[in-house]
Symmetry: C2
Subunit: 347 residues, 2 copies
């Protein structure tokens, strides 16, 4: 079903997944396009961001995001155009960054909207990535918690992805030795040849641990943890004293609903934190760093203008495809930042 | 064998323990009292400090302290008197804090010596505790990593011990709600009635988790981790967002040589760090904070003068008893800071 101008298509949560979600956990519904009341804006979704953290919202288990109710629209960051406005702060045709979710149209009273950053005007979907949540996550996690110094070694997983690719590029800009970890030779080549990582290793390689040791001859000073799972086991023994581990995501664990049969690794981690005096710190960008968004936008806009930071986007078409794009992303099918073009007639 | 003035008794590491050490891992040897060369000092040990971290030195497994060689003297912090001096910086009769270890006499070239803090002159063994390593550990870990704010909840294990008792008292001075955890009713009563903790819970209580929940109605903001083991499992679910976990010791794990048969708790910890944006940070006082020792001594001396900080010492007699005192301490037999009086004729 394609978009019609008087119909709002919306994708709602149909069931809570145990383990990996599939299309049965989503439902496409239609309703008339809603009408804005006084003080409201009608938004038309142009770009929809799909991100691993949304898996957390599908469960009612404790998560760092509140759960989506059964039957409610899947939430997501979007780039939208103002279609109609009864709010004196917004004019029809303006671009905004919104939280309108997996649907064609949405109402807002403006409190959850931001102007699209100037540097994203030529490329609006960057407001969801380089100049939005994923870029901001990379920037603050690496610089504020990771505190990389020139000459140090920074390791980042999901190296071609929306967060990891930016972490690695910023670390290079700071003069670090950067080793990425990614799934498959193509992603690794991209990280090395296009993004300028010193090295990128395949996490499917049975020799990952020894490869990592070889390519981090001075140990690891910062491990940017955005995947979880077994990569951590290869990284931990190589962490240097006073190493830092910013932790912003655990995609490898999101679909795991049964306890692991592995031996308990908690004492090992505690012992490594003590022996090596590590700092392991979780953060949620929207909660911990809103006061530094301006600084981020200014710096990132400059890097983009100077062509010092690149982003690979995986651009998909059509709201109706969001469920299988999303489930594929959780399985590692994506290459870079996943965005869905919802309004085909917009840039 | 008691002390004779021309004989140096020394306790050496006889064998490396697997699991809990016992007296067979130590050996008492004698040798003539050594003679200082030009530039050296002969020290007489008066007080010997016994601390859990010494267990790490008995193993050659990776630890945060270097291993003691087989046949070498067990190392330890001591309070000593200068017996003879051929060093122009030290005079006979002076008190020093040294690293002379489990023996009656030792030579030093002065580089590893510190003057006994003024506030410890009336009570020299405090140079090993309140005004020494354990007090300094409590002070920096709580204030620099834990950063407790008035009204927050601080939980500390080994609440009657050398580090935990000071952590809790400083947290009270900062206006926090303080809950201790200790082994047995006597230690708990001491923490509540003498040290002024708001509450102290027995870790042997099968209901520890629910007791802790009840007595931390606003959750836990700082958990000072100095024991490891299962207390952590009761604490983690109660940690508040942006909570801090300074980690300076894992006594419960030191004697464990076989991997746990428990299910893997690592993913749970990682998930909690992410969801709650926790900061977990290891530190080793002698490596991370030497530049702040002066500040600590000044503040702690003031608190002692004002009678705002107390310490319970477990005072034992006789170097020859050090092995069984030490192994008992690892089993939780001690109540407060363990010190051994080596020179009975000194204060």
């Amino acid at each position: 079903m394609t978009q019609q101008s008087d119909i709002n298509r919306r994708i709602v949560l149909a069931a809570r997944p145990q383990g990996a979600p599939d299309s049965s956990h989503f439902r496409l519904e239609t309703q008339p396009v809603p009408q804005p009341a006084e003080g409201e804006i009608l938004l038309r979704t142009v770009w929809l961001s799909l991100d691993p953290y949304m898996r957390g919202r599908m469960s009612d288990a404790p998560s760092y995001v509140p759960p989506t109710a059964l039957g409610a629209v899947m939430r997501a960051g979007t780039i939208a155009r103002v279609e109609q406005s009864r709010h004196d702060g917004f004019k029809p045709g303006e671009w905004v960054v919104s939280q309108s979710g997996w649907q064609d149209y949405a109402l807002s009273d403006g409190h959850d909207l931001q102007r699209l950053p100037l540097a994203a005007r030529q490329h609006p979907s960057w407001g969801l990535s380089l100049l939005g949540m994923t870029g901001f996550t990379a920037y603050m996690g690496l610089l504020d918690i990771g505190q990389p110094q020139a000459g140090e070694t920074v390791v980042v997983a999901a190296a071609s992805g929306a967060v990891g690719s930016v972490v690695g590029q910023i670390a290079r800009l700071k003069g670090c030795h950067v080793v990425g970890i990614a799934g498959g030779a193509k992603k690794c080549r991209f990280a090395e040849q296009t993004l300028g990582f010193d090295r990128c290793l395949d996490h499917r390689d049975a020799m990952l641990a020894s490869q990592l040791r070889r390519h981090c001859p001075d140990g690891i000073d910062v491990y940017f943890e955005n995947v979880g799972g077994r990569v951590f086991d290869a990284v931990l023994p190589l962490m240097n004293p006073r190493g830092r581990i910013p932790l912003c995501g655990l995609i490898a664990d999101y679909n795991v609903s049964t306890p692991s049969a592995l031996a308990d690794r908690l004492p090992q981690l505690q012992s490594a934190i003590l022996r090596k005096r590590l700092r392991v710190q979780g953060f949620i960008i929207t909660q911990d760093y809103p006061h530094r968004f301006g600084e981020f936008i200014q710096q990132m806009s400059q890097w983009i203008a100077d062509r010092r930071i690149l982003l690979r986007e995986d651009i998909y078409q059509g709201l109706e495809n969001a469920p299988h794009i999303f489930t594929g992303m959780l399985a590692g099918d994506n290459f870079g930042k996943v965005v869905v073009r919802v309004a085909p007639d917009e840039p």
